[in-house]
Amino acid sequence: MIPTHYYLFLGSALFTIGVVGVLTRRNVIVILMSIELILNAVNINLVAFSHYLRSIDGQIFAIFVITDAAAEAAVGLGLIIALFRNKETVNADEIDLLKW
């Protein structure tokens, strides 16, 4: 059998890759994809603990996280389309209207 902390290491590595993507990329779409990576890392942890504690609750929470990811993707991509229509850019650091 595979020890539970292997899954936790996998989850934290995936989480870190997602954080690197969010912090370093300029393309807003790739930033949204990195957020999906982070949510998947959370799901791995939830399912691993669900398995370890022999309880189904972690899997239910993972389903809710996936629901959230779907809602977030829909709203985020709608925002990106609205943004692209107004500013003709998908670079996060060029969207600085509120900065001075």
Partner: protein, 169 residues
């Protein structure tokens, strides 16, 4: 032996394809690599005996969300952005911060790893299949959260339509 081989193969695929997602220049390539990542995360769910979540992952993530991403990437496809710098100016600081974060997470998990013995064979209720157990929990104990999640999806759908619609003046 077989579960270990499956787990390590899937982990390597997950991590390499995740790195490919955040390093590709072309956003379409990133989406394709993200699909590979999500598929292998589904495989990791399978090694944890979460068959229903595997199905949800493939149908909802790979089938639904990723197609949405591909549509938007192709809608806002900019040939200009392919020739621009892909990483923001503060990427050194960001990378250093992320390495510190990884070290902290790894140290924390390593310190606590004795608290987690081997993952046992799934013993949620041996008489019950995984999908059955999920269904019972969702529609009995988690009835109200399911309703709230459905309202959240409705709100997100209306919000996406309103935000993406063209304004006629």
């Amino acid at each position: 032996m077989l579960p270990q081989i499956a787990f390590f193969t899937l982990s390597i695929i997950v991590l390499t394809s995740a790195v490919m997602v955040i390093t590709r220049r072309n956003a379409v390539h990133s989406v394709i690599w993200l699909i590979v990542t999500l598929f292998s995360v589904g495989g990791v769910f399978l090694t944890l005996h979460a068959q229903f979540l595997f199905a949800v992952q493939v149908i909802l993530y790979v089938g639904g969300i990723m197609v949405l991403f591909l549509f938007v990437v192709m809608l806002v496809n900019l040939d200009v952005s392919l020739k621009q710098a892909q990483f923001s100016r503060q990427w050194h600081v960001a990378l250093a911060t992320a390495i510190v974060l990884m070290a902290e997470l790894g140290y924390g998990v390593y310190q606590g790893h004795q608290a987690f013995p081997l993952a046992q064979a799934s013993g949620i209720a041996p008489s019950m299949q995984n999908t059955e157990a999920v269904a019972l929990a969702l529609y009995q104990d988690y009835m109200l959260p399911v309703e709230i999640a459905s309202i959240l999806l409705l709100v997100a759908m209306v919000g996406a339509v309103i935000m993406a619609q063209r304004k006629f003046e």
